[in-house]
Structures are given as structure tokens and as C-alpha cells.
């Protein structure tokens, strides 16, 4: 079993003050250990995106406690949360979110933009990250000239460039065909094997099946967690 949780959620709730009040998360608790690869699976409206935002410190829970890389989010200011994201969390989005005028190399280098690291160092590290993501041949290609799968590889390289404590991937295969999708899943597995802690959010149970652990989410609550079975 993995020790030393990188991410821990304890009884996390999130309510949106609309009328009527939307309770997106209702007491979610789970931990992700260092080096784990976890899929959070759930249908549309199950609270996946809210959970991703809270795990990624892009939003605060209404109640409950979240810790990332040992930092308790409730004790952090907005600036501290930005620092936490800059140094400890990597994101992969369904829409890739690459800057269109930039090359693959510079898009990845931007993953460390807010760490204050000089551009030259960032580019050197970006090249290594792109090679890890299988994009060594496309360093100087402009983002708009890349295929969907290549863009997602670039986005993945950007997420792992600074060796973050955890990488959060939000529907990373959502915009890709099945073949490309498989290759991205393989990439995620490879990266995990080399030590990166990854949480993948997906609505697709087939993708979750590839991963050693999956957490099922329904109506803002954890329906199942395959790690329970192991313990049992």
C-alpha cells in the first residue's frame, strides 16, 4: 500500500448558493498516496469537475479539509494556493488549453512560468518533458499545427514538467478518437510507472479499467473505491 498521502480529502462538501442550493459534493473523503494512479469515474453531474477544482486548489470546499502535498488548503491564502499550483500541481484539460501562437516547446515551458525560473532553464526542462511524452520530434511545431493526440501529449508534458507532487487530468481523452485515446492512456500509465502521481477524472468506465485504482462518484458522494476491496 502507498503511504504518505499526496492528496487527502476529509468530509469535503461543496454547495453553490443558487436557488435551490446545489450540493455538488456531499462529504467526500479519500486519499491519494505518492506514486498512485487513480481514476475518478462518474456520470455527468456527479460532481467530478467540482472535485477536480477542489483537488487542484482552484476552488475551496464549503466544508471539510483538503491537503495537497502536505499543505492544508484551509490555511492558505489565495496567493498561497497559486504558489501551491505553481510548484506542486500539474493539470491536463480535456480542451488541452494550449496557446495557439506558441510552439510545443514554449507551451510546455509555460508550465513553470510562474515559478520564476529563467526561460532557458524552462525550455531545457520542457524538452525533457516533451521527450518523455513522446513528442521529441515536434518541439518547434506551433500548437495549431498539431493533431489532437499530439496536443494532448504537449498538454501532458506541460503538466509534468516541474515534477509536480500530483497531476490532475480532467477527461484527458474526452476530445480524442479511441485509438488516440488509448495511446494517451498508455502515456499516463508510463508516466505513472516512472513515479508521477496521477488522478484522472473521466466519465468513461472503460478508461478507468486500465488503472490500478478507481473511485466511483455519483451525486456528489463516493459510490465505490477499489482500494476498499483490497483492504477488505
Amino acid at each position: 500500500m502507498f503511504s504518505e498521502p499526496v492528496l487527502s480529502l476529509h468530509n469535503v462538501t461543496k454547495e453553490y448558493p443558487t436557488t435551490p442550493v446545489v450540493r455538488a459534493l456531499r462529504g467526500v473523503s479519500f486519499e491519494v498516496g505518492r506514486g498512485e494512479l487513480v481514476a475518478v469515474v462518474g456520470p455527468s453531474g456527479s460532481g467530478k469537475s467540482t472535485l477536480l477544482h477542489i483537488m487542484g486548489t482552484l476552488d475551496r470546499p464549503t466544508s471539510g479539509e483538503v491537503s495537497v502535498a502536505g499543505y492544508r488548503v484551509s490555511q492558505l491564502s489565495d496567493r498561497d494556493m497559486s504558489s501551491l499550483r505553481a510548484h506542486h500541481i500539474g493539470f491536463v484539460f480535456q480542451q488541452f488549453h494550449l496557446l495557439s501562437g506558441y510552439t510545443a516547446l514554449d507551451n510546455v515551458a509555460d508550465g513553470l512560468l510562474y515559478t520564476g525560473m529563467p526561460l532557458r532553464t524552462r525550455r531545457e526542462m520542457a524538452e525533457i518533458a516533451l521527450r518523455r511524452a513522446g513528442m521529441g520530434q515536434r518541439l518547434d511545431h506551433v500548437a495549431t499545427k498539431l493533431s489532437g493526440g499530439e496536443r494532448q501529449r504537449v498538454a501532458t508534458a506541460r503538466a509534468l514538467i516541474g515534477n509536480p507532487s500530483i497531476v490532475l487530468a480532467d477527461e484527458p481523452t474526452g476530445n480524442l478518437d479511441s485509438k488516440t485515446s488509448d495511446s494517451i492512456v498508455e502515456l499516463i500509465e508510463e508516466l505513472n510507472e516512472s513515479g508521477t502521481t496521477i488522478v484522472v477524472i473521466t466519465h468513461n468506465p472503460e478508461i478507468a479499467e486500465h488503472f490500478p485504482r478507481s473511485v466511483g462518484l455519483r451525486d456528489g458522494q463516493i459510490e465505490y473505491d477499489t482500494s476498499w476491496e483490497e483492504v477488505a
Binding site: R79, S83, A86
Partner: protein
């Protein structure tokens, strides 16, 4: 407990790079939104430059011409007088202490000027005949374009020197050959053509003859219609005060005393009013340019929600996002400012060279132009920047397409 968090940092050079992302990816929009500022700044720099250049030209002109010239003329009109000064007026004026020189101009009204004796009577082309003292050229700081000025010998013979307009109208372009004109029913030889008089434009339309020749050949009585007087520059006002009474003690009210350089200065003052008007127009253009930038920036913030969301996810603080968009607005206005200054300088230099002036751009116009552009950019960018910074990262990422 974990170690203290290293803060998010954005290197100033990287801030510069991020601030140019929007400008580089939307070049046409960048150019068009900077154009408003370009026009505003160019108008202001150009107007200030032209005004400064023309002022310096005027000063140089006044310096060259001297501001110590006075003209004494007999008033004309019902009940004012005959249009002539007393015969002895010039002598009386010369008695005033600070007066340096006097020059008599006597209009020979009866004499008409024609190119040849075949030209029908009346077709004089508006050219007058003026009998003049031979020091006229010095007094008016005039210059000879071709040929020579009258001297004591030629001034006593039927010779004439033409003003620039008179020469043009008579078709006398040079005096290398023997050019004669039909003046007062006899042939006069043209011995010189003058350049324009800046202080007495009416003499440009005159054929000038010596007083002696006028008396001998044109029956002129030599009564002055105008006396040009150079006085001690420090005593001008005092001399002006006594001039009328000295020139015509019996009827001083019939004498008009003027200072020709006043007209030049008055023209410049009128130009100043125009300058203020154009500066105002430039300021309006600048304001409109600023509103244009604010508009483009607000649209840009809305369009780039996903980028804002991404940057927050990468660790940007609110301040980083705000400074990126503020920097972009500042860059946009700086581009406009630099473009405007260059255009303004270009226009000034072009116009000045066209007019034969020395182009002079006051440094304050350049500094002020760039400063004004940046201030406008800062004001225009502030609201969009704050709006971008306040955007919640989850909202920005959720609405991103």
C-alpha cells in the same frame, strides 16, 4: 508539516512576453486599436512641432528684418486728408533723436506701367509706380533677385527696378539683356528685379524709380505718401508717440503710424489659436483611441477566459493576471505612442521642409506624447485587467470552449 511554500513568481521578462501574447496573435486588431492613439499623438506632436517651427521661423524672420521699422502714412478717406504727408515730413522725422534712417516713398499716381506701348490703356496689371529714396533696400531689408539696385546715377535716369510680382506680371524674368517697359508714356530700362518684401508686400507690385528720375521724367512732386523709419530699438514706443505730431504738426490725426512686424506677430497669435484648436482635436482623438483600447481589452478578456483559467491553473496569482492585461494595454498604447510620435515628427519635418523652415520638435511634445499615450493606456487597461484578475479560475475554465 510541509515546508514553507515558495511563492509564485513571474520574471519581469516573462511578464513582457505574456503581455505580448494577445498582441502577437491578433495583429490586425492590435494595429487598428493602436491607430486611434497614433492619430491622437501624431496630431499633438505635429501641431506642437509645427507651431514651434513656425515660431522659430518668425523669430529668425524678425531678427533678420528687425522690429525697429515704423511706417508713417497719410490717412486717406473722407475728411481725413489728401493721402499725402507734408513735403518736409521726412526732414522733421529725421530730427527725432532715436531715428536712425528715413526713407521716402512717393506714389506716382499719374504714371502707368505697360510691357510695351502697344498695350491698351488701362491694362496695367495693377502695377503702381513708386518714387523712392535710394536707401529703401537697406531700410526694408530687401534683396535683389536679378540685376542691381538703383544708385545715385541710375536713380536719376529713366531706369526702374521691379518688385517681384510686378516683374512676373510684366513677364520680365531676368535683366541680362536690355529690358524696357513703357512707364509714364516713355521707355524705362529695367535694371533689377527684387525678391519679395516681407515688410512691405505692396511694393512687390511696384515699379520703383529714383526720386530724382521721377521728378525729371514723370513730373512727380516728391511729396511723400509713406515714410519708412528705422529707429533705436529701445526707443520705439517713445518715437511712435511723437511721430504723428512731428510728421504733420498741423493735422497729426491724419497720420497713421504702424509697425509692420506687428502684423507678423498678430498672424502668429492667430496661428496660436489654431494650434490650441488642433491640440484639442488631438486630445479628442487620443481619448477616442483610449476608449478603443479599453473596448478591445474588455473583449480580449472575455475571449481569453480559457487562457486566464489556464494561467491561474499554472499558478498565476490575481496580480500576475492583472499585470499581464495591464501590460498589454500599456504596450498597445506605447506602440500607438511611438507610431504617433514618428508620424508627428515626419509630418512636421515634411511640412517644415516644404515651407523652407527649420523643423523643430519640442522635446516636451515627444515626452508628453509618449507619456500621454501611456497614461491613456494605463487608464484604459485598468478595468479590463481588474476584471481578468477577479475572474474565478473555475468559472474561466468551465466556460472555456
Amino acid at each position: 508539516m510541509a515546508t514553507a511554500l515558495r511563492p509564485s513568481k513571474l520574471h519581469p521578462r516573462d511578464l513582457g512576453r505574456t503581455a505580448t501574447v494577445g498582441l502577437r496573435t491578433r495583429r490586425l486588431r492590435t494595429a487598428l486599436s493602436a491607430l486611434g492613439i497614433v492619430i491622437g499623438i501624431a496630431a499633438m506632436v505635429g501641431v506642437l512641432g509645427l507651431s514651434e517651427s513656425s515660431k522659430s521661423e518668425l523669430l529668425a524672420q524678425l531678427d533678420r528684418l528687425g522690429t525697429n521699422l515704423l511706417t508713417v502714412e497719410a490717412g486717406t478717406g473722407i475728411g481725413i486728408g489728401s493721402g499725402e504727408l507734408p513735403e518736409e515730413a521726412a526732414g522733421m522725422i529725421a530730427q527725432i533723436g532715436p531715428v536712425e534712417t528715413t526713407t521716402v516713398v512717393s506714389a506716382v499716381d499719374d504714371a502707368k506701367v505697360y510691357r510695351t506701348d502697344y498695350i491698351p490703356e488701362g491694362q496695367t496689371g495693377g502695377i503702381s509706380v513708386q518714387a523712392i529714396d535710394l536707401n529703401l533696400l537697406d531700410t526694408l531689408a530687401g534683396t535683389v533677385a536679378d540685376g542691381q539696385w538703383l544708385d545715385s546715377a541710375t536713380g536719376a535716369f529713366p531706369t526702374t527696378v521691379l518688385g517681384s510680382v510686378a516683374a512676373e506680371r510684366l513677364g520680365v524674368t531676368d535683366v541680362t539683356g536690355i529690358e524696357q517697359i513703357w512707364l509714364g508714356d516713355q521707355w524705362f530700362t529695367v535694371i533689377g528685379i527684387l525678391n519679395e518684401f516681407e515688410l512691405a508686400p505692396d511694393l512687390d507690385r511696384a515699379a520703383m524709380v529714383g526720386l530724382a528720375a521721377a521728378a525729371e521724367y514723370l513730373d512727380d512732386d516728391g511729396v511723400p505718401t509713406r515714410i519708412l523709419v528705422r529707429v533705436d530699438p529701445d526707443q520705439i514706443d517713445a518715437v511712435m508717440g511723437v511721430m504723428a505730431a512731428t510728421a504733420n504738426p498741423e493735422n497729426p490725426e491724419e497720420v497713421e503710424v504702424a509697425r509692420p512686424t506687428d502684423a507678423l506677430e498678430a498672424k502668429e497669435a492667430a496661428d496660436d489659436a489654431l494650434t490650441a484648436l488642433f491640440l484639442g482635436l488631438g486630445a479628442v482623438a487620443l481619448l477616442v483611441g483610449g476608449v478603443g483600447i479599453a473596448n478591445v481589452m474588455v473583449i480580449s478578456v472575455l475571449e481569453r477566459r480559457s487562457e486566464i483559467g489556464l494561467r491561474r491553473a499554472l499558478g498565476a496569482t490575481k496580480r500576475h493576471v492583472a499585470s499581464q492585461f495591464l501590460g498589454e494595454a500599456l504596450l498597445l498604447s506605447a506602440i500607438g505612442g511611438v507610431g504617433g510620435v514618428l508620424l508627428g515628427v515626419g509630418v512636421t519635418a515634411g511640412y517644415a521642409s516644404l515651407r523652407g523652415w527649420t523643423a523643430l520638435i519640442p522635446p516636451v511634445a515627444i515626452g508628453g506624447g509618449l507619456g500621454a499615450a501611456l497614461i491613456i493606456g494605463a487608464i484604459a487597461g485598468l478595468y479590463p485587467a481588474i476584471r481578468a484578475a477577479r475572474m474565478s479560475p473555475t468559472e474561466a475554465l468551465r466556460t472555456a470552449g
